[in-house]
């Protein structure tokens, strides 16, 4: 007997626990775990914000407490007393180029792996995936040697070239194309579109959600990267934000409000990007033209 035959009648209307449109949910046992976890996760961020608007004395006080006033001058000091603008510009250049390159190259490579049959495609793809399991520390030195042979040491190019394409991005885009009905592309080909035309006119407009995800992940990883820039960048004028922030830490004394104000400002673009991209996560139109 199937479950449908066991129902006394048709189920009409929403279930009591899941009213559509309602944002209120009943408390559950999970909240006992999730609320303390949220507090743990939020504490460093809140502490960063509090320190960024405190005086040095307030920041060094123990036990820590709320500042007596908001020191907006900390943010001004960051701009005037350090090359923060230059670090920000370097980071924006590197992140933007890498993100755009990843969007183009990963989506093209993912499309090729998903849709174009060629000899050895399966093996090549498995080999690519296998590289995900190799830790960065293992490939750090060989990558440095390659970058050095290109003459890119202490150049922004050293931060860009090794990150132009990411295996994870290829994998993610391939999975997206695999889930897309091939009939969409076939219909476009029947309608006279070339393969590139199919890609740009039919597939690209549907790629919003995966491209937004790839943008956020790539941007986060490049923006926050510290180890690789530390290896290849030496001169202060080519430093990225993470290197610059590290240089603000003194060996004997650190101006914590100054450092936290700089850190807070360095994180603002990421928060804005995430809030913008988040809308695309939920907008999935890929299958609405398919029965």
């Amino acid at each position: 007997m199937t479950s449908s035959t066991m129902l006394p009648g048709p189920v009409v209307g929403p279930l009591p626990d899941a009213e559509p449109g309602s944002r209120h949910r009943r408390p559950s046992g999970w909240h006992l775990l999730l609320i303390p976890l949220s507090v743990v996760m939020m504490t460093p961020l809140i502490w960063m914000v509090i320190t960024a608007v405190s005086t040095l004395e307030e920041a060094r006080r123990f036990p820590p407490g709320l500042p007596t006033g908001i020191q907006w001058s900390n943010f001004v000091d960051v701009w005037t007393q350090s090359p923060f603008g230059l670090w920000l510009l370097n980071t924006v250049i590197v992140s933007s180029v890498v993100v755009v390159a990843n969007l183009v190259l990963c989506s093209l490579a993912g499309y090729a792996f998903a849709r174009i049959r060629f000899h050895g495609s399966g093996i090549v793809f498995v080999l690519l995936l296998a590289t995900l399991m190799v830790p960065f520390q293992v490939v750090m030195i060989p990558t440095l040697l390659i970058v050095k042979s290109f003459g890119l040491i202490d150049q922004l190019g050293a931060l860009i070239v090794p990150n132009l394409v990411a295996v994870f991005g290829i994998f993610m885009m391939r999975q997206f194309f695999m889930a897309l009905p091939p009939e969409l592309e076939e219909a476009a080909r029947m309608d006279g579109a070339s393969r590139l035309g199919v890609f740009t006119k039919v597939l690209l407009p549907l790629m919003g959600p995966p491209l937004a995800t790839l943008t956020i992940l790539t941007f986060l990883s490049i923006w926050n990267d510290f180890l690789w820039p530390l290896i290849v960048i030496q001169s202060p004028e080519h430093m990225t934000l993470q290197l610059g922030l590290a240089s603000l830490q003194g060996s004997h004394l650190t101006n914590w409000p100054f450092l936290m104000a700089a850190t807070l400002m360095s994180q603002l673009p990421l928060i804005v990007l995430f809030l913008l991209g988040q809308r695309l996560f939920v907008r999935s139109i890929a299958s609405s033209g398919i029965k």
Binding site: A187, D191, G192, A193, I285, S288, G289, I290
Partner: protein, 382 residues
């Protein structure tokens, strides 16, 4: 518009072992004709369509559309249009832009493009929906948009791959009529692929029955139904399907249990007797034979008719019942004994080994040596 000629089509998918999807398929679809391909899942009917469309590369064979050999051309250069099973509408484009897409790809001037889109939209009653996106349309409306996108550029041929299979029964009947009307109006050479034999029989001027990539029979629907060339075609077409009884022929007489029929020209040996459900009728007292005495297994009441599933002692077992129709008033009960008359002129005979049809040299009549039996009362619903 143009005829479509399929010459020696062969399609083999590589693998271990390779899968032969099409095997030496030859067919000419005349100019303006609608041919329906029908067959069970995996028989190769969609592969034919995809090979004609250029979405699959042929292993061997030639495809001619009009005077042109097209098997080496990409899909966009073949001047054929296709309606997909899932419609494949571009979800990010409005109905207008979906309809305009094929014309834009062909760089049709804007004024002409607009006129063509509006003409097709009016023909398919889509004018009110031009600003909507596919997600905002019902199944039937999406289907019409898919048709419109195929029609808008006036292709030489029209390929339809199970276009109604995602619709509910009522809408399917309505859309079937619309497709027939559009075809009558435009007269575009069309290949229609379906697994639904009702669609094939009602829409196709000719139907093509496929099995395992091989063409079994081509002809007008009524002819293929009444004159199947083999057991597969006989069993595939018809709802309920033909009753098939394995019997033995000896000196022109079929013998199995109490069944004895004179079949002129039947070779000696094992044969399969095919009886359409409509060739069996509850017998009345003055009916001539031949008769079969059956025991009713169960009855399906469909409203306009009843389908009686019965077994014939000594001939059929419980797993392969004999099925026949009765009027709604005739409603036999389970386990009830019933005498049915067999319309001998409609019986078909097939060779049990080769499964090919055996053509008889004369009408089938009951064997005179058969014992007569009293006709039981035909039960009626009170």
């Amino acid at each position: 518009m143009a005829p479509i000629v399929l010459h020696g089509l062969r399609k083999v998918y590589p693998g271990k072992p390779p899968v032969v999807a099409l095997d030496d398929l030859n067919l000419t679809v005349d100019d303006g004709e609608l041919v329906a391909f029908v067959g069970p899942s995996g028989c190769g009917k969609s592969t034919v369509l995809r090979c004609v469309a250029g979405l699959e590369k042929l292993t061997a064979g030639r495809v001619l559309i009009g005077e042109r050999e097209v098997q080496e051309l990409p899909p966009g250069k073949r001047d054929v249009a296709m309606v997909f099973q899932n419609y494949a509408l571009y979800p990010h484009l409005t109905v207008y832009k979906n309809l305009a897409f094929p014309l834009k790809e062909r760089h049709v001037p804007k004024a002409k493009l607009d006129a063509e889109v509006r003409r097709v939209a009016e023909m398919l009653e889509l004018t009110e929906l031009l600003r909507r996106r596919p997600a905002q349309l019902s199944g039937g409306q999406r289907q019409r948009v898919a048709m419109g996108r195929a029609l808008v550029r006036e292709p030489l041929a029209f390929l339809l791959d199970e276009p109604l299979s995602n619709l509910d029964a009522k809408l399917r009947t309505q859309m079937r009529s619309e497709i027939a009307a559009v075809h009558r109006r435009l007269g575009i050479t069309s290949i229609y692929v379906t697994h639904d034999q009702v669609e094939a029989m009602t829409l196709g001027e000719r139907i093509v029955v496929l099995r395992d990539g091989k063409l079994q029979q081509v002809g007008p629907p009524a002819q293929v139904y009444e004159d199947p060339v083999n057991l597969f075609v006989a069993g595939f077409l018809g709802t309920p399907s033909m009753n098939l009884l394995e019997v033995r022929a000896e000196r022109g007489v079929l013998v199995k249990g109490p069944l004895r029929l004179v079949v002129p020209g039947a070779p000696d040996g094992d044969v399969v007797l095919g009886i359409r459900p409509e060739s069996l009728h509850p017998a009345s007292a003055d009916d001539p034979g031949p008769f079969l005495d059956v025991v009713v297994a169960h009855v399906e009441a469909l409203g306009n008719e009843n389908l009686v599933h019965a077994w014939v002692p000594g001939i059929t077992d419980g797993t392969t019942p004999l099925v026949f129709r009765t009027t709604p008033r005739v409603y036999p009960q389970a386990e009830e004994r019933l005498r049915v008359r067999v319309d001998a002129s409609q019986l078909l005979l097939f060779d049990a080994a080769s499964e090919m049809r055996i053509l008889l040299s004369g009408p089938v009549v009951p064997d005179e040596h058969r014992d007569g039996q009293e006709t039981p009362r035909t039960p009626t619903r009170p």
